[in-house]
């Protein structure tokens, strides 16, 4: 097992500079340069180590180099990457990427790697001399001695912020906000001094007398046998020592204000950073004069034509009406038009026929189901928690789905829609409302938006602080990618590599959410019933609309009343039977004692005389038959009681579970927020307060946070954030949304990267149009339907999709919209359309999702249902089981959400459409419908099939092909069917039509939209 020692790998990604300069090679070179003063004069040739050389010291040798070369960015309040080089402790502690220097280990010292590799100082600005770099290396090798600097010594001054993070991660789960075991609250020095039932937890100046230290050192706290239950790890000895040192120093507190924006401005984000196009509010843009004004239907076309003209192109001619109605129907409501709609639209002489059609579609309840689905992708909607083998169901998640569908149908202004989803619990005091209106309840249900991330924290072993931070990171990712168009998540572990988003801003955002999402005071997801073991449902709340609750209560009460009456009747009967038996058996006793026995048993046990007590003991058991033995003794009672019991069970089954909601709920007492270096909760850095991404503000105005109403037990932080986000001049909110709407209508966003408007995102193909749309969106009161109307009534949208030779040459990727893109149906469009044409679509909106059934071979589909199926948006969305027909056509896994669906073309799709039994069944349904609507004439059959499936009549060739195929299929079926088949000719003709319909459901024209 002898090999050369591996090349150490630096703890960060190698830059090209590192490749040119392998560590080992340079390391050897450096090692030769022992004396930097000597090296100044001539190339290194001295012995590797010289014991007589005094080791460089931080204060005298290193600090001056740092001061000259590094302090500009890495000291004081404005320090970058959280790196403070002005103290020895700061150097060892390091910054966002971890310790800057590891004593004695050059290879693990990031600072040395960066400086030697030429990455720091950046851009080659005034680099340190080679001799200085060498000195730093020798200093690290010598153990990075501090010299006179005492900042990192055992005697260095500590304050409460060195100690509180330790207590939060090891102790406050039992001695904090929630449980306050032994009456002790360790979340503040005040709480420690007040102590618990055993006395104060700390005695300032006397660690050995402080209970907290004594208990920890005795191994009693945190109790090792119990920590897993509450998802914490044992306390480290080094952590105990810090607490002890702090107490020894007198438990000093310093007044550290959380880092928020101040009037001094932001040293980490410059005005130049703020100047990037997407970080400035959308401009008021004048609509250009189009080169061909007659082609302009609305301002969109003017912008598009202008760019097309620059390429030597113009808009394609308008699509024919049949293509247009199929396109706009599938686009706006997710389903194709009926034959009647097609025929009347094609024949409609009204010049505004198309606009009227668009209005009809936007008013259809199907619209919310189609566009709500797009939003659910962004939210990462799922009906289960995911991440663990038991994919715990989210019983009430569907309420959020319904809220989204209703909001789209009602054209809820987008600003309001966001306010509700981000801060609905802080919009009004629902808890103390005299009546919870459906609107108030919706405010809470809306916050389900930020409860959609995969979440394993219901289980104690996946509920440690890092697991919770992962859930939080996903929620921030959902928010950033869907609404903000920023890759905020990148700043979790380090400042953003491309955008001016310092790590600090990520943690300021975490502070915004901390009232509800506190990694040290965590509400677990619902634990599903049969499994409860001391676990309680923490997240589901009973704050549903009062009317709904009353209805449930009265329904439950009425059922209960019937149950009680039935039970009462049984018991009455039981008493009669018991009395009957009593009399019978009493009559069997010698007459002389009968009445004495009766009197004895009638007397209360404590009032019986000695004789009566004797009689009672002797006869009570025989005469007074216990209730449970009655059915065995009386046949008719047995029958009656069984029958009544059956009715009780039936009534019990009608009881509905208590209505509940899932919501994000600010609880008003967030723990402090520290920047976690490298995203590691064990390395807390600077204390930060709630704040907004600096680059989207002036960097000077703090986020104003107020309680949402007087006396509110809520921080109001999310409300402040949400109000800022929906301000009319917000640089991103309107742009990101109109871009997304554009993407759905036209196949690609004006900004291609829907979730990334930052520097690594794509620049807009039509920047002025994007801004014009954003401003128009706000001007129209954030009406989403107004934007649909604008986009789909443009000439740009109405173009044909044919690819012309000049398109291939000048606009191959259709960036300039020289035509409409041809697109494949989405998973839902395909499934819902097949149900519709087969007359198997059951339009029953809302409510609990429809269950999936999983076949032995793994195929998952909606459970068989003779009455047909609901639209796919109502199918249960477990994380571990996705309906096969949806998955095959690119239905996404929500991890945590889906920004843009892919549209793949793979063999399993063909296999599914050709071989799957449900598709077969739908083809049969389709054929039955055609037979019913078209009768026996093959020409009419073919015509009906085309109208239903393709939204147009067939042409001559197609009609002929269809009729010939029907005849051929019928002949073959006739040949194949057993001779004794009833109505063989009819059956073969029926099967022929089903086979034909099956081919149509598989055909490209059915699957693609022109």
């Amino acid at each position: 097992m002898t090999t050369s020692p591996p090349t150490p790998t630096p703890a960060y990604r190698r830059s090209p500079a590192h490749r040119l300069c392998p560590v080992g090679l340079f390391g050897c070179f450096c090692a030769l340069a022992a004396l930097w003063s000597f090296a100044l004069a001539q190339p290194p040739a001295a012995p590797v180590k010289d014991a007589s050389t005094p080791a460089p010291q931080y204060d005298s040798n290193i600090l001056p180099i740092f001061k000259a070369k590094c302090f500009r960015c890495h000291s004081g309040e404005g320090r970058k990457a959280e790196l403070e080089l002005s103290t020895h402790a700061g150097v060892l502690k390091g910054g966002e990427s971890g310790p800057a220097v590891v004593a004695g280990k050059v290879d693990e010292s990031l600072l040395y790697e960066r400086v030697r590799g030429g990455e720091m100082p950046p851009d080659g600005k005034d680099p340190p001399a080679k001799e200085e770099i060498d000195l730093i290396r020798r200093w690290i090798e010598a153990g990075a001695p501090a010299g006179e600097d005492k900042s990192s010594s055992a005697s260095a001054a500590l304050n409460q912020h060195d100690v509180l993070p330790i207590l939060f991660r090891r102790c406050t789960v039992c001695h904090g906000a929630g449980a306050r075991e032994a009456g002790l609250d360790l979340r503040s020095k005040g709480g420690m001094l007040a102590g618990g039932k055993s006395g104060p937890a700390i005695v300032p100046g006397k660690p050995d007398e402080s209970l907290v230290i004594k208990r920890i050192r005795a191994g009693e706290m945190p109790p090792l046998r119990r920590i897993v239950e509450v998802s914490i790890k044992p306390i480290e000895p080094s952590e105990t020592e810090i607490i002890a040192r702090w107490i020894a120093q007198g438990a000093p507190e310093v007044d550290v204000k959380p880092d928020v924006a101040t009037a001094d401005g932001d040293p980490l984000v410059t005005d130049e950073d703020r100047n990037f196009w997407s970080f400035r509010p959308p401009r008021q843009v004048n609509v250009p004069t189009a080169p061909t004004p007659e082609a302009v239907r609305n301002p969109i076309d003017a912008f598009i034509l202008q760019k097309l003209a620059e390429k030597g192109l113009t808009l394609s001619p308008e699509a024919d009406r049949a293509a247009l109605i199929r396109r706009v129907c599938l686009d706006l409501v997710g389903l194709p038009p009926s034959p009647e709609e097609v025929l009347s639209f094609v024949a409609d002489p009204d010049p505004a026929a198309y606009e009227k059609l668009v209005d009809r579609l936007l008013a259809s309840p199907r619209y919310g189901e189609a566009w709500g689905r797009h939003w659910l992708d962004l939210a990462g909607y799922a009906d289960s928690e995911g991440k663990r083998e038991q994919d715990i169901r989210r019983t009430f998640a569907y309420r959020y789905r319904d809220y989204v569908i209703r909001s789209f149908n009602a054209d809820k202004p987008y600003d309001r829609f966001l306010l509700e989803q981000i801060a609905g619990d802080e919009l009004a005091d629902v808890e103390n409302a005299a009546e919870i209106t459906p609107e108030l309840a919706d405010n809470l249900v809306a916050t389900g938006f930020l409860r959609m991330a995969p979440d394993p924290t219901w289980y104690n072993l996946t509920n440690f602080v890092p697991d919770r931070l992962e859930v939080l990171a996903d929620e921030i990712d959902v928010l950033g990618s869907s609404v903000m168009g920023l890759t905020m998540k990148c700043a979790r572990c380090h400042s953003h590599k491309f955008d001016p988003i310092p790590q600090r801003d990520y943690y300021r955002l975490l502070a915004v959410f901390k009232g509800a999402f506190d990694e040290h005071d965590w509400l677990k997801p619902n634990w599903h019933p049969g499994l409860s073991s001391g676990q309680t449902a923490q997240r589901d709340m009973t704050l549903v609309a009062t009317a709904e609750r009353r209805e449930w209560e009265s329904q439950t009460a009425s059922l209960q009343k019937q149950i009680d009456e039935l039970r009462g009747a049984i018991e009455k009967q039981a008493q009669d039977v018991a009395q009957k038996i009593f009399e019978q058996r009493l009559a069997a006793l010698p007459e002389a004692i009968r009445e004495d026995v009766r009197a004895a048993l009638d007397a209360p046990p404590d009032k019986r005389s000695a004789v009566q007590a004797y009689l009672a003991e002797k006869f009570e058991k025989t005469l007074r038959v216990p209730r449970e033995q009655l059915p065995a003794l009386d046949e008719s009672f047995k029958k009656l009681s069984e029958e009544m019991q059956g009715r009780v069970s039936a009534l019990e089954a009608h009881k509905k579970p208590e209505p509940k909601i899932r919501a994000l709920w600010d609880r008003g007492q967030p723990s402090p927020t520290y920047i976690y270096r490298r995203g590691d909760y064990l390395s807390p850095g600077r204390l930060v307060g709630p704040g907004l991404p600096s680059v989207l503000t002036d960097g000077k105005t703090p986020c104003v946070v107020e309680p949402p109403w007087p006396g509110a037990k809520k921080t109001g932080r999310r409300l402040a954030f949400a109000r800022w986000l929906v301000a009319p001049d917000h640089p991103l909110t309107a742009r990101v949304m109109v871009n997304r709407l554009w993407h759905h209508h036209f196949g690609r966003g004006l900004v291609r990267t829907l979730d990334n408007f930052g520097k690594a995102g794509s620049p807009p193909s039509h920047g002025e149009l994007l801004d014009w749309l954003a401003v128009e969106f706000v001007r129209q009161g954030f009406s989403i339907k107004a934007m649909h109307r604008l986009m789909v009534t443009s000439a740009t949208y109405r173009q044909a999709s044919a690819v012309l030779p000049e398109h291939e040459r000048l606009d191959p990727d259709n960036v300039f919209l020289s035509r409409m893109p041809m697109r494949r149906l989405s998973a839902e469009q395909l499934y819902d359309t097949m149900l519709l044409v087969a007359e198997k679509l059951r339009e029953a909106p809302f409510g609990p999702p429809d269950a999936l059934a999983v076949r032995a071979d793994g195929l998952a589909a909606a459970a068989p249902s003779p009455a047909g199926w609901r639209r796919s948006i109502y199918l249960e969305q477990q994380r571990k089981v996705v309906a096969t027909h949806l998955e095959a056509f690119d239905f996404p896994q929500m991890n945590p959400n889906c920004i843009e669906r892919r549209s793949s073309t793979v063999a399993p799709q063909a296999l599914l459409l050709m071989n799957n039994s449900m598709v077969n069944e739908l083809a049969e349904g389709f054929a039955r419908r055609v037979q019913g609507e078209a009768g026996d004439d093959p020409v009419r059959k073919v015509e009906r099939v085309y109208l239903l499936a393709y939204g147009r009549p067939p042409d001559g060739e197609e009609r002929q092909t269809g009729v010939a195929a029907l005849a051929q299929f019928a002949a073959e079926w006739l040949r194949q069917l057993p001779a004794d088949t009833a109505d063989r000719a009819v059956e073969s003709s029926r099967r022929a039509l089903a086979t034909y319909c099956h081919a149509i459901l598989n055909s490209a024209e059915f699957l693609y939209i022109d």
């Binding site: 097992m1 591996p6 790998t9 630096p10 090792l224 046998r225 920590i227 897993v228 995911g386 991440k387 663990r388 083998e389 394993p456 072993l461 996946t462 992962e470 890759t487 572990c493 590599k497 491309f498 979730d755 520097k759 030779p805 191959p812 041809m822 071979d857 793994g858 994380r879 571990k880 089981v881 896994q893 991890n895 793949s904 073309t905 793979v906 063999a907 399993p908 799709q909 063909a910 296999l911 050709m914 071989n915 039994s917 077969n920 060739e957 197609e958 092909t961 051929q968 073959e972 040949r975 194949q976 099967r991 086979t995 081919a999 149509i1000 055909s1003 490209a1004 024209e1005 699957l1007 693609y1008």
Partner: protein, 480 residues
């Protein structure tokens, strides 16, 4: 790797025999991608690609031993456990235990270790068949991971992150190398017919890579691939007529829409679907194997039949040019929380002979040189006992351990008879030449000629890789 002559012959024999009609044979003679127009756009496909640098391994068989096989009872003898048997150790490792309430004292191994092969590798008597193949394997004793719970640990070892949503190892490999056989999926999963492993189908997800690169489940009974055969059987002539009609309809549609390239891809997908029906059926037809081969793998006898079949199918798939084959086993057989002595032995009895046969068979056919075989689970087990509710020590098992586990590699480009790394004296934690999961990933990619830093896809402006932002190093010591 081309099809071996024998399998190719039988393949065409079956086509001519016409289970799905002779018209399909014409589809087979055409190269799927040959006449596809190059339209200069980035496309994702499974065409074979050259690796970053030349490498011996061309295909992978991943024997995923989900559950966490016990290192100190199979591959990593620890005499100190015998010495300290019965000693309390709880306080020292309290933060590393899943089931704290059941934690018992130090537990010696109930298995006997001996040295095997020319290399003298130590293997316990639970694995008598593998013991005869040790000179073909590189054993890593110093693996470690980051979570002691199945789900996150499995996500990590499959995809480089402790949660769902990222491409799995197999997806990265086929994304990087494509496939040698366009009639079969590039990444085949042979799951246990008795049920899915923990994390289910997420084990072979393609994450943010296109679904083209996700694993396809092959079943050893019934229809090998979902929807591969019609749920409702119809006469072959009718099926063929329908196919003909469909081709005509699609031809009309396409003729009127020149230069819509998606339509070409769609037609290609239908053709591939037809070819896959034949190729998959052929690959799974074990009746083509000799009796002695079947016996070698333990096919036809218990308890080896099920896993033996999958190992044999894995060889047949690799022979046919499938790039990545992954085998699963149901029932958490390696997750020996109780009755270690009996349950671990039984897990070995189900798998030992098939696994050893796979190595020997690949070697005798000259396939081992080009095939990388990987064996291992998601974590290891603790040196202390986990006691059942009645505290009966004779039924003790071992709890999860993220700090140490064993894994081995064999075949293409891997040193034989080599042991890498070491754990501490109790086997509690990797101590020497530690190998992290990202290191392990980097090494596997390297063995296939893929540079783990270069195999990437642009995602949100970042170059996403299997190893993510984690530091990783190729364990060069195991390279031949």
């Amino acid at each position: 790797m081309a099809d071996s002559p024998s399998s190719r012959r039988s393949f065409f024999h079956r086509v001519a025999g016409g289970i799905y009609g002779t018209a399909l044979a014409s589809l087979l003679s055409r190269d799927l991608f040959a006449d596809e127009p190059a339209h200069g756009r980035p496309t994702f496909d499974l065409a074979p690609r050259r690796p970053h640098f030349s490498a011996r391994a061309k295909a992978v068989i991943h024997l995923f031993m989900n559950g966490g096989p016990s290192q100190m009872d199979l591959f990593d003898p620890k005499p100190m456990l015998d010495k300290l048997h019965g000693t309390q150790h709880f306080e020292k490792i309290a933060g590393e235990i899943e089931n704290v309430k059941d934690a018992g004292a130090i537990l010696r191994s109930p298995f006997k270790f001996a040295q095997h092969g020319q290399s003298g590798m130590w293997v316990s008597d639970a694995l008598p068949c593998l013991a005869r193949q040790v000179d073909r394997i590189s054993l890593i004793r110093s693996m470690h991971t980051t979570n002691l719970t199945h789900e996150p640990a499995i996500y990590l070892i499959q995809s480089g992150k402790m949660g769902p949503g990222r491409p799995t190892l197999g997806s990265w490999v086929v994304y990087g190398l494509g496939s040698e056989n366009q009639n079969l999926p590039a990444y085949v999963v042979l799951d246990d017919p008795l049920g899915l492993p923990i994390n289910g189908v997420e084990n072979w997800q393609s994450g943010f890579l296109p679904p083209l690169y996700q694993g396809t489940r092959f079943r050893s009974t019934g229809s090998p691939v979902l929807n591969l055969r019609p749920d409702v059987e119809r006469p072959e002539a009718v099926v063929q007529m329908e196919r003909d009609l469909l081709s005509r309809l699609d031809a009309i549609h396409k003729r009127r829409r020149p230069a819509q390239h998606d339509l070409d891809a769609r037609i290609a997908a239908y053709e591939l679907a037809a070819r896959m029906q034949l190729a998959a059926t052929d690959a799974l037809d074990l009746s083509q194997e000799t009796q002695s081969t079947l016996e070698m793998y333990g096919v036809g006898k218990q308890p080896t039949d099920s896993y033996g079949k999958r190992c044999l199918i894995a060889r047949r798939l690799v022979e046919r040019g499938v790039r990545f084959v992954q085998l699963y086993i149901n029932g958490q057989i390696w997750d020996n929380h109780t009755a270690l002595a009996g349950e671990l032995r039984s897990a070995c009895q189900r798998t030992d002979q098939p696994v050893a046969a796979l190595l020997a068979d690949l070697a005798q056919r000259g396939l081992l040189e080009e095939t990388l075989v990987i064996w291992g689970g998601e974590f290891g087990r603790l040196p202390i006992a986990q006691l059942p509710a009645d505290k009966n020590e004779s039924r003790a098992g071992r709890d999860h351990n993220k700090n140490a586990f064993c894994s081995w590699l064999a075949g293409g480009g891997v040193k034989g008879g080599y042991v890498h790394g070491a754990t501490d004296e109790l086997g509690m934690a990797a101590a020497e030449n530690k190998v992290s999961v990202p290191d392990w990933h980097a090494t596997i990619l390297h063995l296939l000629g893929l540079d783990f830093e270069e195999l990437a896809i642009e995602q949100h402006g970042l170059k996403e890789r299997l190893t993510g932002v984690n530091p990783a190093r190729v364990v060069r010591e195991v390279l031949a």
